[in-house]
């Protein structure tokens, strides 16, 4: 069972990179061509393609890349010639810190929203649904206008001075993290509200209430165990989504993470960089899902909460992040 889950995770990760590779392949133009506009002759372009190895068939290039990844070699950037691993090493810490901060804020906001729902007996929550429907750029613009423009509490852009890290300049994290967390929290609340409602409608919860047990105790003993697995699954989805979805906030706030690297690499068809940038969130998401599944597996085989996974979150829900 566990082995099957691990194999499935690895297979999905490979499949994800194949899809990204194919999608990049479908875009018009390649790195050789886009690097050589202006006065380059057809021979110049052909030579550049050969130098970059772009004259080989797509399948060969993909398998070559995959073989490299298995050996721990992410290849070199087609446009700058730098090792892809080094490019990521420069920017990954910033994105990881941002995603972690956003995830923490998401968890707090979601818990608060669900707490309100619980106290209102499972009703309400349309505000969360509404917030989830607002596009991310609007969140960014409104938050920026209020906190940086109107109030002047926070920096309008999140540039990191040379040598600084987001940990030494935590104030630059606030706007990007909030921009990411608001829609994520709304999304998580919308998903988990169903699970909470289901749990609250269970006979033993009603029974516990009728017996006069205090609300916090009912929550801890009779409701939370049913939310444990769905919450883990939602967290896994969100973690993958947050790592993959930082491109917009990084651009708007000038925050130097991997999202900007991905966007600019797509623009110049820098396939090795795009592939690595796609691999990262795929792996985070899949590992998260794997952990959630393993947890569910453990919970399910435990004698007490046999129906713990009954309100599993739709697996494809991450697409809306």
């Amino acid at each position: 069972m566990i082995l099957r889950l691990v194999v499935r995770t690895a297979a999905l990760a490979v499949a994800a990179t194949a899809v990204v590779f194919a999608a990049t392949e479908l875009l018009p133009g390649d790195a050789g061509q886009l690097r050589t506009p202006g006065r380059a002759s057809a021979e110049d372009i052909a030579r550049e393609r050969e130098r970059l190895g772009l004259d080989r068939p797509a399948a060969v290039r993909y398998l070559d890349w995959l073989y490299g990844v298995v050996r721990g070699d992410l290849g070199r950037s087609l446009s700058g010639g730098r090792p892809v691993a080094a490019l990521f090493a420069e920017r990954l810490p910033a994105t990881a810190v941002l995603a972690a901060a956003a995830l923490a804020v998401t968890a707090l906001l979601t818990a608060a929203a669900l707490g309100v729902t619980y106290l209102r007996g499972g009703r309400g929550g349309s505000a969360a649904t509404g917030l989830a429907a607002v596009p991310q750029p609007v969140h960014a613009a409104v938050l920026g206008a209020v906190f940086a423009g109107l109030l002047g509490w926070l920096p309008a852009v999140s540039l990191l001075p040379p040598g600084a890290s987001p940990l030494t300049e935590p104030e630059v994290l606030v706007l990007p993290a909030l921009t990411l967390a608001l829609p994520s929290a709304a999304f998580a609340t919308a998903l988990l509200r169903g699970a909470l409602g289901d749990a609250l409608r269970r006979p033993h919860v009603t029974d516990a209430r009728l017996r006069g047990l205090p609300a916090p105790l009912v929550l801890r003993r009779h409701v939370l165990p049913f939310l444990y697995v769905p919450a883990l699954q939602v967290t896994a989805l969100l973690a993958g989504g947050l790592v993959a979805g930082t491109a917009l906030v990084e651009t708007v706030f000038g925050y130097p993470g991997t999202g900007q690297l991905l966007v600019s690499a797509v623009a110049v068809r820098d396939v090795p960089v795009v592939q690595a940038a796609a691999l990262l969130p795929a792996v985070v998401l899949l590992l998260g899902m794997l952990l959630a599944d393993l947890a569910a597996h453990r919970t399910a085989s435990a004698p007490h909460a046999t129906r713990g996974t009954s309100t599993a979150v739709p697996q494809n829900a991450g697409g809306s992040l």
């Binding site: 506009p37 550049e48 730098r82 852009v157 000038g254 900007q260 623009a267």
Partner: protein, 523 residues
Amino acid sequence: MTQPSFPHAPASRRSVLTALAALAVLPLSACSSSDGSAASAESSASAAPADGGTLRYAATGSPATASDDPHGGLGNESDILRFALVYDVLTLPGEDGGTRPRLATSWKPNETLDRWTFTLRKDARFTDGTRVRAADVLYSLRRIADKAAENYGRLADFDLDGSTAPDEHTVVLATRTPMADAPRALESVSFVVPEGTEDFSRPVPGSGPYKVEGTSSRTSVLTRNDDWWGKRPHLDRIEIQAVADPQARANAVVSGQADVAGSVSPAAVKSAGTSARTQVVRREGVTEYPFVMRLDTEPFDDPRVREAFRLAADRKALVDTVYLGYGRIANDLPTPYDPSTPKDLPQRTRDVEKARRLLAEAGHEDGLSVTLHTTTSYPGMDTAATLYAQQLADIGVEAEVKVEPADTYWTAVYAKKAFYTGYYGGISFTDLTRVGLLSDSPTNETAWRSDTFDDGFDRAMATADDTERQELLAGIQKELWEDGGYVVWGTGDGLDLAAPGVRGLPDGPGFQRMFIDQVWLDR
């Protein structure tokens, strides 16, 4: 994605050659005292420059196009800025449009203007202590030429195999054809590295005013090179940040996180303009979005159609809408800022009646449908096309605006489609002619093929006398004004945003803005 942002500056009205002649007769001592550092526009001439401080510069740049190689594609302004401070170049664009000496102190052509002797400074040293020799210069120029495919054939008009270094401080550069403006072609981008340098992944010794303390795809920290031969720079440190989004760059200055934001959009300047916390540096004639018509494709093969399309343009409305007023109207000549621009041509103005009549004469009395391609590579390109399409409707032309992806526009649309929105970033008339207006030009985007034009250009390039040459160049532009494939409605200013205390930012043409070694902070 960047399209050729040709680095060349308009030459001065004052003759390049006159300046050369003057330099040639100057005694050597006078030459070496001449300060070859970047000319700067003093925003406030009153105070004496103060030394010290750190300048934080947010420049255009995205991580995937970041490069350490000064001879390649130069996709990021953040990288060019670093190269301009760390390496020496042979010549610089001057304040008045003329070519100024830097590593090259003087130059002299042969009779036929196809062999140029450049004399180099003797006191330039790389940061590792070795002298800068002619061999280093020749090696660097050859390396640029070898990378022609990446750098738009920047030195394609030089024959570097036929060029030599007769002694330690002299290079003799051969050009493929007579080339009266050769010193200008070397301005700004002729970055000199030690001979044999191939690996740029580690900092390479330069001979410029600053040296690299640390660099990544996101930031560079430069410190003053106290052993530089030129006028001592004022700033101790320059921190360069690559920021892709123009609004984020502008915000960085407004909120005090950067001192300078390079190349921001007119909209960003307008929104920051009300603030007392910023100053605006305007560089004239930097952006141009001409509408390009191919003469070998219907309906633009008919000169009456081209004339009608030019008469349809409401130039002031376009400048006001696209550049938000930070620009000026133009007269269908692709390089209106160039000193060779003819002065005696009447300004074309909007004439709907005449345009309709011309279209009817050309057989389009029942209207005409065309597709106008555009993209979002540079701010306002799409706005320009949309507004012009509305203006064309007034003369009975139905223009469908097609906004193409910026990634592939310069390979799939530029110099290929019959009617599209182009871009020029301050290219000189002679450069534009070589790349796009001669019968055998590699990207002849208007399919302009004229024997009288070709002959006139060759004659001009073989003419040593500057006034005479500019007259010849002005003459062939009249033909272009009459009959060419360009609708040039205006040029926009290059715009930089800076904190109030920043002084001496260059506001000259082309890449001159990158040479910020004499900037200082007034605190």
